[in-house]
Symmetry: C2
Subunit: 354 residues, 2 copies
Amino acid sequence: MHDVALRAGVSIKTVSNVVNGYPHIRPETRERVEEAIEHLGYRLNTTARNLRTRRTDMITLAVPELSLPYFAELADSVIRAAEERGLTVLIEQTSASREREVEVLTGRRRHLTDGLIFSPLALGPEDVDLLTTDAPLVVLGERIFDAPADHVTMNNVAAARAATLHLASLGRRRIAVVGAHEGELVGSAALRTEGYRQGLEAAGLPYDPALVGEAGLWHRSTGAETMARLLDAGVEVDAVFALNDAMALGALHALHARRLDVPGDVALVGFDDIDDVKYAVPTISSVDPGREQIARTAVELLVERIAGSGTPFRRVVPGSRLVGRESTGDVPEGGGEVVAAVQPGGTEEVAPRS
Amino acid sequence: MHDVALRAGVSIKTVSNVVNGYPHIRPETRERVEEAIEHLGYRLNTTARNLRTRRTDMITLAVPELSLPYFAELADSVIRAAEERGLTVLIEQTSASREREVEVLTGRRRHLTDGLIFSPLALGPEDVDLLTTDAPLVVLGERIFDAPADHVTMNNVAAARAATLHLASLGRRRIAVVGAHEGELVGSAALRTEGYRQGLEAAGLPYDPALVGEAGLWHRSTGAETMARLLDAGVEVDAVFALNDAMALGALHALHARRLDVPGDVALVGFDDIDDVKYAVPTISSVDPGREQIARTAVELLVERIAGSGTPFRRVVPGSRLVGRESTGDVPEGGGEVVAAVQPGGTEEVAPRS
DNA sequence: GCCTCGATATACAACGATGTAGAGTCAATC
DNA sequence: GATTGACTCTACATCGTTGTATATCGAGGC
């Protein structure tokens, strides 16, 4: 910048002003500076600016793993939403490890960016203290509800209830669950399992523990294993509610391996509505929790928080939909899908900012 | 840092030394400083350090889209490899747009990190000038081979040839291609199509343009559309080589929609060996191009380049394998897969560093 | 007892930008 | 004709670190 100033015969500050689009500059001066910049191939040093302005225009997104399609798609959406606001996204993978999640929240890199969108998988309500910081934070997911931070979540219970009821409405009486976390009280697993219970009850079906398949991590592989375990145990099953789509794909694989027809023998519903399920064979019905809106909202809230709005913390729940596809026989001939709204979204103020 | 120094009764520089693990410090002093840091909750300001040291310990990974599973998995691997070296990864999505790719190379953010791993999809050999910079750069993919930069690529031709030959070895005579780019001379499409031609020739099969299906972007949807187009055109097909796995999944979907059995009526091979194909119904045979190794190597090369090694630019090609699964009838009963090496990897010096 | 050297700690000047305050110019206003 | 105010530009301090040069001290070597 020094050299540019020299060549253009102006002060360093004027160069800075030109670069930053400060309005009160004579066109002639601006031109000289721009010529010098061009000639010298000068590029603004972002680090120095960051130091001086105390902003980086970067945000962090911490997710368990990008190889899980839901999080890859979420990251995609977050990056696009951030892009529109001129922000760059730095992605941290926590591998669902407690240690990494703590590190993301408290480590050195926490202050590398202006704010954090955090999707915990290992931390729980007991770790609320870790989230109590001044640094802008938006929490995603269903594990921590009482943090002093903005929160974007989804209609887990209502959506799971709707999914279960839908299976029951097809006449299925033996609806299995894939992906439960026994004994857990928080998190997607607990909430979706609760929705499943409610759905059964609403349909007048009994709750049978034999139908509840555990799966720690929600991968394709664990879905397949859990499904296989249920089938091998000789449990009678005519429908499956997989608590996420990755496991639904795994379950489908396991059903197929045992020559069970979907939806003929077993109907199947997943959760997340990732792109995969639209091309699976057969296509898989799923709950669309509003991923795109979750991403946009998270970025919006974070941007507001970074701007320093002292507004109360909010909890936002996008509207969710149940998308019926072949795996529940919802598609006649030509293909396509049947969509039913589960519940509209909403925003709620949580607590006044301290 | 100033406050810490004050409280510990030492100079600012000493605090810096403690933080950076400088060895010659009296244990007693170190203790006082650490106590002060703890007490004041001091955190090193990374931005200031970056400015001073002229390093950020961040690298950029530019890929088309995270919602494409191959790139999501690649990003996952790159992040892990970088993590091991204490580097943070910033991901840029180019959406395969020329404009965004140019921006990634030349834009303001280019100098936000220490180096760039770039996977172009729109730029070609004619843009080699854009890649001619001093900033550390590693190029991935098959579009630009002559850039003055390190390059990690794959055995496209040999692998595609092997895939085609494998289909032929099953007795298939009408092997379609999904994802060709007509008239294109560079890029994965051209190379893999060339491998397909070679495979046909080696198998003594004729090349029939009617069997070559075009698809611009390599998504599930375009794979499905291209497959449908071929089938609807009445082309006789008993095998399909999809140039990537996303399209293979789409093609499988389209085949299924037309009640064609895989592998009974049509055998199918994909490319990339993403996680999806291992759980598809049926599981899909695919070429594993060595994604994990590509990621590791790219990070390694970039790290060396950042360290300022003036070594010649290298071109690295990981070994690739053909993984046989159900879609080519390679799996007997219990499941599993059959693996055959296509070609070992290798490293090659490209040109002396200027 | 002088010299050398390692260990320990410090002062000062950067790194490359921007915020603030203010100087100069010129036209409009009273 | 002095005052005001908008416009244009500049000097200087500053953001929070680290590199370099240097000071001090005590121990060991000769």
